[in-house]
């Protein structure tokens, strides 16, 4: 097997693990599977188009601010009113919101995909021990590692992080010790929005266009990654997302040419097999059922 495949698979796995983390964080705190999460990445994509002519730091900062703003708006206007409703109500709300944001993007930017000027500086390639590694893969890996370290430090070393973890375990008891649920949930949406913006930057860096439906595949990957990793577990989510990206890339590389069109089918067959063996996911959190 060509080791180059492994390098590419690690790059994709790292990006998918980031996608999954943003979705899993909100699920852990309020039991909400936010299917509008993919639309946050799509909004990030359109922000990149609008800010493409700006310096890189302004493009990154602007994209994060826009996506976090929409993430907070989502929480305040759509999810807070149904917070105490059933999980099914919250799920339907997230589907409705996803549709609304898609149609809003369609009206604002048109039905046809918007071309995105390539980031040529990211396609620069380096050679290490016979392996070709693009700047984009290095950037994705470094960013993913930094986000994981940052998230771990935030959750372990700051008061809001400890409160977030307490709320993910027992939201009722968290209220009894005086943790303000509005504050903690808003913090989760800020972190989730920031991760969605970073995903958007890394994801669209290799794409030639952004469309109103760009978020669909992302949310599917994030959802399945979170499920096989173990809902409610951050480590599980990161691992599940990584495995999704890694296995998908390897399937595309190793399957015979005539079978590659069925790579998705092979991937989801593997997902079903994992769930049959471990219904709670690879690292199942207590009290969460898939």
């Amino acid at each position: 097997m060509n080791p180059q495949y492994i390098v590419d698979a690690i790059g994709t796995g790292a990006l998918y693990s980031l996608m999954t983390l943003g979705l899993a964080l909100v699920f852990s705190v309020m039991g909400l599977m936010n299917f509008a999460y993919g639309q946050l990445v799509m909004i990030g994509g359109f922000s990149i188009i609008l800010l493409r002519s700006q310096p890189w730091w302004l493009l990154i900062l602007g994209t994060i601010l826009v996506v976090v703003f929409f993430s907070l708006l989502m929480e305040r206007l759509a999810f807070r009113p149904v917070r105490n409703a059933t999980a099914m109500t919250m799920l339907v709300t997230s589907f409705a919101l996803a549709q609304f944001l898609q149609q809003l993007a369609r009206v604002a930017f048109g039905a046809n995909p918007k071309p995105l000027e390539q980031f040529s500086e990211l396609s620069v390639q380096y050679e290490f021990a016979g392996l070709i590694v693009s700047r984009q893969i290095i950037l994705t890996l470094v960013t993913t590692i930094l986000v994981l370290i940052g998230l771990a430090l935030l959750l372990r070393k700051t008061n809001i992080g400890i409160q977030l973890r307490a709320s993910t375990e027992d939201v009722g008891m968290a209220a009894l010790v005086g943790i303000k649920s509005n504050r903690v949930i808003a913090a989760a949406f800020v972190i989730s929005g920031t991760i969605a913006a970073i995903v958007a930057i890394l994801f669209f860096a290799t794409r030639t266009n952004v469309s109103w439906s760009s978020g669909d595949s992302i949310v599917l990957i994030a959802f399945v990654g979170a499920v096989i990793g173990g809902l409610g577990s951050m480590v599980g989510a990161a691992l599940g997302g990584f495995l999704m990206g890694f296995v998908y890339t390897m399937l595309n590389a190793l399957l015979p040419m005539e079978l590659r069109v069925f790579a998705d089918a092979f991937l989801y067959t593997l997902v079903i097999m994992v769930l049959l063996i471990r219904p709670g996911g690879l690292i199942a959190a207590k009290g969460v059922r898939v």
Binding site: N159, I162, E169, D170, G172, L176, K286
Partner: protein, 240 residues
């Protein structure tokens, strides 16, 4: 004026009445026990005081202020801390983090750190396992952590719901010794217990509840004979 005063409190879950009309009070520095069998409405009373459930009628006053219908966080800020049934410590947080979370309502973080160190000195086992995940502690150690976590908010009244539940008799003794020590230090305590004899022995006063209301209220004050007498009658009620 009593520290805590419940008058005519009625708690319903839909059409089911959990508490009919409860009158109860706790004075400053007093240790009061609320005893009764499973299902008589003791835990519902705790939840109503803590703001988890809203009574359908009656009043709950703390230091003369009406707290009925307020959110749990607001009630904690007024000075009522809860040690819930089943302990409900945060098992995936370390012992030290559980204590930090207990001090959430206090604004001075330096003071919270100081209090955390004090708790670890007061409960040596918590100091010993400060960096260990709380879920790895034994039942008795978890109960100590639940009490220490509640004390982190510097409450005026400590509300304990069945602290002896699920613990070995020897550990139960330790928990009651701890409550006795807190009482001696001037803490106001409302203890909800099924373990009637032990609760009466430890408390200054007790209320005996049966099917949604108080049927007896008397001074206890470590009276062993009284504790045995009530327990005997209480067991008789249980069989009725």
């Amino acid at each position: 004026m009593s520290l805590l005063e419940l008058s005519g409190v009625r708690i319903c879950y839909g059409n089911a009445v959990a508490v009919k009309a409860l009158d109860l009070h706790v004075d400053e520095g007093e240790f009061v026990a609320l005893i009764g069998h499973n299902g008589v409405g003791k835990s519902s009373t705790v939840k109503a005081i803590a703001g988890v459930v809203k009574p359908t009628s009656g009043s709950i006053k703390f230091e003369g202020n009406d707290i009925l219908g307020q959110q749990p966080g607001a009630i904690l800020r007024r000075g009522i801390a809860v040690v819930p049934e089943g302990r409900r410590i945060f098992t995936r947080l370390t012992v030290g983090e559980n204590l930090t979370v207990g001090g959430t309502v206090r604004s001075d973080r330096v003071e919270v750190k100081k209090s955390s160190a004090e708790m670890m000195a007061r409960f040596p086992v918590l100091g010993k396992y400060a960096d260990r995940m709380a879920g790895l502690l034994s039942g008795g150690e978890q109960q100590q952590l639940a009490i220490a976590r509640a004390l982190m908010s510097k409450p005026r009244l400590l509300l304990l719901d069945e602290p002896s539940l699920g613990l070995a008799p020897q550990i139960v003794e330790q928990v009651f010794d701890l409550l006795e020590e807190l009482r001696k230090q001037g803490s106001s305590i409302l203890l909800v217990e099924q373990n009637a004899a032990q609760a009466i022995r430890a408390a200054d006063r007790y209320y005996l509840m049966r099917t949604g209301g108080v049927i007896e209220s008397e001074a206890a004050g470590g009276d062993q004979a009284k504790a045995d007498q009530v327990e005997s009658a209480y067991l008789h009620f249980g069989k009725a």
